[in-house]
Each structure stands twice: as C-alpha cells, then as structure tokens.
Symmetry: C2
Subunit: 205 residues, 2 copies
DNA sequence: ATCGGCCCATGACAGTTGTCACGGGGTCCG
DNA sequence: CGGACCCCGTGACAACTGTCATGGGCCGAT
C-alpha cells in the first residue's frame, strides 16, 4: 500500500459498466486503471505494453471471453494477477476460472467497496473468491458432459429441431438424438430444452 | 446547470454496478446521487422522500422490474423524470418504456460519458433515446402475442413439457398446445423453444 | 344483435422426440 | 491383448408435439 499504485487493466464489453468500475477504482489512491478493453482479444499484448499488475476481466464478452483470455494470459504472463468480475455466479465458471489460474472471482452483486479490496488481495498474492460460490462449486461436481454433448446442447439452446442440429454439426440425425438423450440423462432433465438451460446455468455450456 | 444539483435516484440490482454508476455520476458537479435501490419496489416512496428529479432504472430487477416501476411512478409522481439504463437493447423494452412515459432509454454499451448527458437532458425536459434502438423499435411492430400466449411461452422458456405448463397455469394440456401453436405461428418459429427465445429476445416476454 | 376477439376445451392426425438395443470405429491404459 | 471411453450410425417403439377442425363461453365494438 506504499509507493507505486497498482496498475490495473479493465476488460468489459459494456462501455458504461467499464467506465463505472474505472471511476470506482480511481477513487482509491493506491489503484490506477491504466488500460481498458472491450474484449479479451489482445489482452496479453496490452498487459505487456502497460506493465499491468492486475487484470480485471468480465466473462461474457465477444470474440474472446474472459476465461479463455485468462487461460491464455497464464501462458505468456503468469506474473499478472487475474480477477474475474462477472454477472453470473455459475459454479462451472468458477471451476473453469480456477483451472485457468485465476486468483479472484467476484460477482457483480457484491458491494462496490469490495472490488478495490479484491484487487489489493490478488495483487498481494492472496485470493479473492466469493465464498458462497466457492462452496457451491465444490459441491456441484465436475462437468459430466462430453465435448459432443456440449456442442449439441449449445445448438439446442435456441430451440432448433434435430435436423438442423445434425446439419450444423455434420452428423446423422440419429446420432444427434443419441447425444441429446445422453445429455438429458446426465443433467437429470426430461427435455432437450430443459437440459440445455440447466447446463447453461451451471456453466457447462 | 446552475444552483442546486440534479437529485438522482439509482435503481439496479447489482450492487457493484450501482456503485460504479454512482461514482461516475458523482464526478459531475451538477449531479448528486441521493438514493440507491436494489429493486423497483418502494420507488415512489423513495422519490417522494428524497425529492428526486431523475430516477435511473435498470429493467431486469427482482420483485418489481424497472418498466413496471416506471409505469407506477407515472401515476403518483409524473413530475419525476425516468431514465432507463439497461443491458438489453430489445425493441419491445423500448416500446414498453415509451408507453410508461419514460423520457430516456440508454443501453449499457454506450460510452460512460453519455450517461451524465442523458441525465441532464431528461431533467431539462428533453428526451434521451438510443437512436438505433428507436428505429428498430418503430420498425419491429407491435407485440402480437396475447396475454395467455405470453404466459405459456414464459413457462416454455425453461423447457417444461406441456403437462407441467398446463398444471402451472391450471389449464387443459390441449389448450396449452393450442396457445403454443398460435404463438409459434405468430413469431414464425417452428418449435415452442424457438418461439420462446424469439419472443424473449424481442422483449415480448 | 351480430361480429370479432380472446379464452377454454376436445378429438384426431402426422411428425418429432426420447429411449433403447445394437452395431461399428477409434484412442488410451493397465 | 482386453477393457473403458468416446465417437458415429441404424432401427424400432412409445410418448410427446404441432396442427387443424370444431365446439362452447365471455366480452367489447359496430
């Protein structure tokens, strides 16, 4: 908390939110927002260029989402701490974040004052995870879906009939129905649509 | 822009966003955020108590959503300007907002600086509507769905089978299927799930 | 009072969906 | 090598879904 301020990068696709969070952080004397992005694309370059200490990333972003960007950043810049700030407190997101080496995970429901505190914590090498979500994530278990099942469910999200899904994935209709059936069973749903929303809400995509 | 600052109320269910927007607005010398809510409930009372000039409302909120709150406020406090600030730029939302007598509608994608400007505009009696969205709203046409059809589609959003929807709405399964069929035809979908997402994305709920 | 709209319901039909059993193909691991 | 797991596919069956025709009741507008 002495000497140079913490150099922060802020990535969120909603400009107004980005501006708000930046205003919030700039109130703190020991934190300085030196770079803003509207996507995860180009994160590593920006981190290198601006000498970023902490990268604050939203998850839902176009092109490259926050979790993918975090994973990529870990490869090239493991010394830069990552703090995920997201709307959706989904257990699967937290799990993926942990696997990506993220040091903090905060949902946008939490009080504004805690944001700066989380930044300080991850910068100091500590962690900053939403406790409720952490518990939920640990109890929720692994993502049981296979790659194909996830693809099929993603296509089913918008209500497409089997034939369209099959065409989109270059599969036989029968195969698609088999994958759907397997997925439905794994998430304990009774309909493809139900299975799709359940999987989405759990962050299993 | 002289004398007393504009007295603003801020309603958003995400505490961190609320704090960010408040920080943003407090940077302006002629604007003062004097009250914050996490829901549309109790809006009229808060407006009366704090002598609010401009109420900034999010749409997606628990209990009472921003559009319903705006409509209710119009009844009791027509002198208080309402500015909607939302994530989702759906044409149906803007239409409902206009019907509720809202004076401004801004999506969170727009640059942060424009928020304060929008507040000043609606306070001055002018309007502040996202131009792209306004055009889309005018060209999109009215919501063609009946009340029942909307209810049924809302239930269908999570993928429930007909029997569950019927039970939830105290209807015969056959009736539910009729309503679904009508709705599917109106939104030009081919599946209930598809119809549900289309209707949702248009703000027809 | 007649028309139109919305609501509710029933029955019947073709098409789709969910499930199962079964086959084949790969890979990775003990 | 056999086994486990994933992938792809087929065929068949019961259940569900989307559509249509048809009927009734309740409004509000013409």
């Amino acid at each position: 908390m002495s000497g140079e301020p913490i150099r922060v990068l802020l990535a969120d696709d909603q400009a107004m939110i980005r501006g708000g969070l930046a205003a919030l952080l700039d109130l703190e004397t020991d934190i300085s927002v030196v770079c803003q992005l509207d996507s995860g694309a180009g994160l590593a370059e920006a981190v290198a260029e601006h000498g970023i200490d902490v990268a604050i990333l939203d998850i839902e972003m176009p092109e490259v989402d926050g979790l993918a960007a975090a994973a990529a950043l870990r490869e090239t810049r493991p010394d830069c701490a990552v703090l995920i700030v997201t709307t959706f407190g989904r257990a699967g997101y937290l799990r993926r974040a942990l696997e990506a080496g993220v040091r903090g995970f905060v949902v946008k429901d939490t009080p504004a004052e805690e944001l700066a505190e989380a930044v300080r914590r991850v910068h100091a090498g500590a962690s900053a995870f939403d406790p409720d979500l952490l518990a939920e994530s640990l109890s929720a278990g692994q993502n049981p879906l296979t790659e194909r099942e996830r693809q099929v469910l993603r296509c089913a999200l918008d209500g497409s009939p089997v034939r369209q899904i099959a065409k989109a994935l270059f599969l036989s209709p029968g195969t698609v129905r088999n994958h759907l059936s397997a997925a439905i069973g794994k998430v304990q749903a009774s309909t493809r649509a139900e299975a799709a929303v359940i999987a989405r809400d759990r962050g299993w995509l």
